[in-house]
Amino acid sequence: MAGGIAVAVRGELATRPGRDTVRAVLLRWTLIVVSLAFLASLLLAPLATVFAVAFQRGWQTYLQTFADSDTRDAIRLTLLTAAVVVPLNTLFGLAASWCIAKFEFKGKSFFVTLIDLPLAVSPVISGMLFVLLFGLQGWFGGWLQDHGITIIFALPGIILATMFVTFPYVARELIPLMQQLGNDEEEAAITMGAGAWMTFFRVTLPKVRWGLVYGVILCNARAMGEFGAVSVVSGHIRGLTNTMPLHIEILYNEYNFAGAFAVASLLTLLAVLTLIIKSLLERAGYQRR
């Protein structure tokens, strides 16, 4: 590393000679190396480990993990949860941002605070809220049991907890975007006789489409990866209420490291894909507000 710095320093001195430059260039490269070392040990090494351990015993073992029916059920449950949660949260995000960005009304800041709340709360508390409502000793526990409905330790609980944790993402992306873009074009469309839905689909939606995609991919990444909240409401029943992150925990606790990291590698690829789409959107000119 020191050799690399020396070469870099010499290279810069050749182009920009001067008394202070030696120290400035040394400082620059020291700071860059410190930054990279910090990131390498905290982020890059763990990322590389995921794949190193997943492929430790070769391709065969890696693929075997996904032949296992429990793993398949976990993947199916995660996809199902995301397929329910993401569209609902997208609908909510569109409705909430239209209501908050386009109109002035009392209690607006209360809405905004409630939308921010899940981001400030521990995932464990998010899950617990639904246990307190629908769990056996919760508010509706007795009534639900009398009617043979299970929410906690079943699919509805997982969906509710995931929805709670991920609903702010679309709304928080769209509200500032719509506020900044203003209402002029919508007002013009309505005044000239366009219907409400036509105005929404032909005027508003095209304006905010990148922000919408941005919010949806973040919402999806969190929905598929949520651990704490889902862990509290799921009950960890194999093949039934086990999502991918929970399945990772089970395999890991059984010392099946190759299996745990194989499932983890799928979720890591999802995170990488999310970041790539995010970068592409930013390159296409979308700016977060």
């Binding site: 860059i32 905290l42 982020l43 090494a45 009304f105 007002e187 973040l218």
Partner: protein
Amino acid sequence: MTSRKRFHQPSVLPGFGLTFGFTTFFLSALVLLPLAALVTMAGSMHWGDFVHVVTSARALGSYRLSFGASALAAGINLVFGFILAWSLVRYEFPARKLIDALIDMPFALPTAVSGIALTSVFAQNGWIGRYLALAGIQVAYTWIGVTVALTLIGMPFMVRTLQPALIEVQRDLEDAAETLGAGRAYVLRRIILPTVLPAMLTGFTLAFARAVGEYGSVIFIAGNLPMKTEITPLLIVIHLQEFDYRGAAALGAVMLVMSFIVLLTINLIHAWGHRRMVASAR
């Protein structure tokens, strides 16, 4: 319709009733109702029981670890996050754009994945853990491991808050100061740090707030020994698993109050930073 007209200003745009109704229903069902359940559950306890649960030795031990390690991790991010943000904003180096995109990784990566990955890197036979073990430092299954995980989780908050603030720093002020004979340390202390101070405080608070509630990435590396390496969220989970809903709700209420205080702090910092900016513009 007439009653609604009173609290919302008239507009030619359609859809207020529909979107307001849907948003209200969604937020009531998903947020307000569950919060009410938490508050009444915690509130239905006798005051003595509540105090007993939230001040038990085990709970106090978990606060000490959760809040202590979170503050330490946010402090580490204050230093390294600043260096990282500074390098990304001010310097050009190979793969800078890629590194910049990677900063968001802890946001996108599921916490269970970062949890098991950090544990295997910092375990005694891990890539980094084995060298630290030679120096007699055990990271995994100790409070140090908890701090490492919380540092990773908080890192993007600090860097992403600092980057725009560092871009705002006026380069000509720095150049002027150096022309007049100021050293780098003096410029850092008198020009750069005062400008980015509100951003540093905001980043610290955000990283701290996220770390206090973190669960997934911590429980694998923590060891989870009561009083020693047990974080507060895990203690809540344990109460729930024992069907002690009231105890869990009481601890949850304590953490919620802490979250509100943190949110309030962030707003105060914003207001203070804004006032400072306005004052300095005069």
